[in-house]
């Protein structure tokens, strides 16, 4: 309320209102931006699936025990360190501009594909750590029980450990998914015409910033359902663990 009053009574407000909140420009920009958002949604869905698969694989490699698996563990750890430490925007530039510049046969140069790949590289490193925490949260006695029944290591992971691990980290995973929903907008830096890029183009044509606001609101609308799902899942996990407790 206070913020609203301060903003609307500021000396620059009339000017800001026409350049950022113009209904007319908003209506005009809505459809092109929505078309761009469809690109973001595609990146989100395809990338999301790849992130889960790659992240889970990395986590399984990182949690392998025994000296024989040391090289795999070190490789997976190196991957996670590299792509978790590297700013996403740098990864995008390197993959998006560096890879095609090599002119290797078979390397696609569509910003859509390269942008998705860069996002997958970064997010799978994050998600691998979430999965790893989940795998380690499964008590060692569960492994002992599984192996004592004669299950192989692989069966133990698939049937006993991973289902419990994934359940334990679902709230954290959904949180990362919400973060991913915004970051898919970064593929615009490679020139993919997504919602952000579409807005940029419209702003460049009119010098009116309303398209940015429209794009921003659309991203928020996209994020709200996943945020609510994340809340619901967290609440359910809490109820399961402390049935009846009000603390």
């Amino acid at each position: 309320m206070v913020a609203y009053l301060v903003v609307t009574r500021s000396p620059g407000w009339p000017r800001v209102q026409t350049t950022f909140f113009s209904l007319e420009f908003g209506r005009e920009s809505f459809l092109p931006i929505l078309r761009g958002l469809w690109v973001n949604v595609q990146v989100l869905l395809i990338g999301g699936v790849c992130v889960v698969v790659l992240g889970l694989g990395l986590a399984v490699l990182r949690t392998l025990r025994g000296p024989a698996f040391a090289p795999l563990r070190i490789l997976a750890t190196g991957y996670v360190d590299l792509f978790r430490g590297m700013p996403l925007i740098i990864t995008l530039y390197l993959v998006g501009f560096g890879l095609p510049a090599l002119r290797l046969q078979g390397v696609p140069n569509s910003p859509f594909v390269l942008g998705t790949a860069a996002i997958v590289l970064t997010y799978s490193a994050y998600v691998a750590e979430v999965f790893r925490a989940g795998i380690e949260s499964v008590h060692p006695s569960q492994r002992a029980a599984a192996r004592s029944l004669g299950l192989t290591h692989r069966q133990m992971m698939r049937i006993v450990v991973l289902p419990q691990a994934v359940r334990n980290v679902t709230p954290a995973l959904l949180n990362d998914f919400v973060a991913l929903q915004k970051d898919v907008g970064l593929i615009s830096v490679l020139g993919a015409v997504d919602a952000v890029r579409a807005a940029q183009i419209l702003v460049g044509q009119s010098f009116n910033f309303t398209p940015y606001v429209v794009a921003g609101l659309l991203f928020v609308l996209l994020a709200v359902p996943s945020a609510r799902i994340a809340d619901a899942v967290s609440a359910r996990a809490r109820r399961r663990q402390q049935s009846g407790s009000v603390l």
């Binding site: 006695s141 002992a144 029980a145 192996r147 029944l149 004669g150 299950l151 069966q155």
Partner: protein, 248 residues
């Protein structure tokens, strides 16, 4: 008679801490052996070595005469022939009671789902828990969970059943139902090795009682002798503490 399970000079250390210092033990078919001893005496470690959940540092464990501690042996194949029940039940919380019991028969032993299901239901029926087959383990009492864990171990038709202090985590009033089941299983001829603090139960059910102390079997023999008239001073000391605590 040749032993089903034989332990020869097994040594196991965790870092500096030497838990087993050369344990010998032979378990004949259809016999029940109770391992007793204070905490840290190596009972659980011995069972974990026998079930290949730990790798022995020295010595051998033989199952039906085959050295299962040989590194060339397929440990998964050996574990298929053993049944293990743990102190903390270790049921799989994300699987129903029935799925807990049928998991190994189907996935490890390749039995058909329907056959495994039928057999599991019959076992659950026997322990009076058939109506709980669809429930998840956390809906069951500790005693019920532990009985399901015993049934889960039995469902693979093991050569020998290893019980690791299976009543230690239970409320006193739930101990009875678990021990009744163990007694029944023993009476049907199952070969059993159990680490236990229940001296009264060991006395009734075990054919042999082994007293472990500081990583060796200090004394073993029929329960009446080991529990009633032990030779070793340390066994006497241990038993008198148990008697003081009202557990014998």
């Amino acid at each position: 008679m040749s032993a089903v399970l034989e332990v020869r000079g097994v040594v196991k250390a965790f870092g500096e801490n030497v838990v087993l210092r050369g344990v010998d033990l032979a378990v004949d078919e259809h016999r029940v052996v109770a391992l007793i001893g204070g905490s840290g005496s190596g009972k659980s470690t011995l069972l974990r070595c026998a079930s290949l959940l730990e790798v022995v540092d020295d010595g051998q464990v033989l199952l039906d005469g085959e050295d299962i501690t040989d590194p060339r042996v397929d440990a998964d194949a050996v574990r298929r022939r053993l049944g293990v029940v743990f102190q903390a039940y270790n049921l799989f919380p994300h699987l129903s009671v029935l799925d807990n019991v049928t998991l190994a028969p189907v996935r490890v032993h390749g039995r058909s789902r329907s056959e495994a299901r039928e057999e599991a239901l019959a076992l659950l029926e026997r322990i009076g828990l058939a109506d709980k087959s669809g429930e998840f383990p956390d809906r069951l009492s500790g005693g019920q969970q532990q009985r399901v864990a015993i049934v889960r171990a039995l469902a693979v038709r093991p050569r020998v059943l290893l019980l690791d202090e299976i009543t230690s985590a239970l409320d006193p009033e739930l101990v009875g139902e678990v021990l009744r089941l163990v007694r029944e299983v023993a009476e049907q001829g199952m070969t059993i090795v159990m680490a236990t603090h229940e001296m009264g139960f060991a006395k009734q059910v075990a054919d042999t009682v082994c007293f472990l102390d500081q990583g060796v079997v200090l004394e073993s023999g029929p329960p009446d002798q080991v529990l009633g008239d032990p030779v070793e001073p340390r066994t006497r000391q241990f038993l008198s503490r148990i008697i003081d605590a009202g557990r014998l």
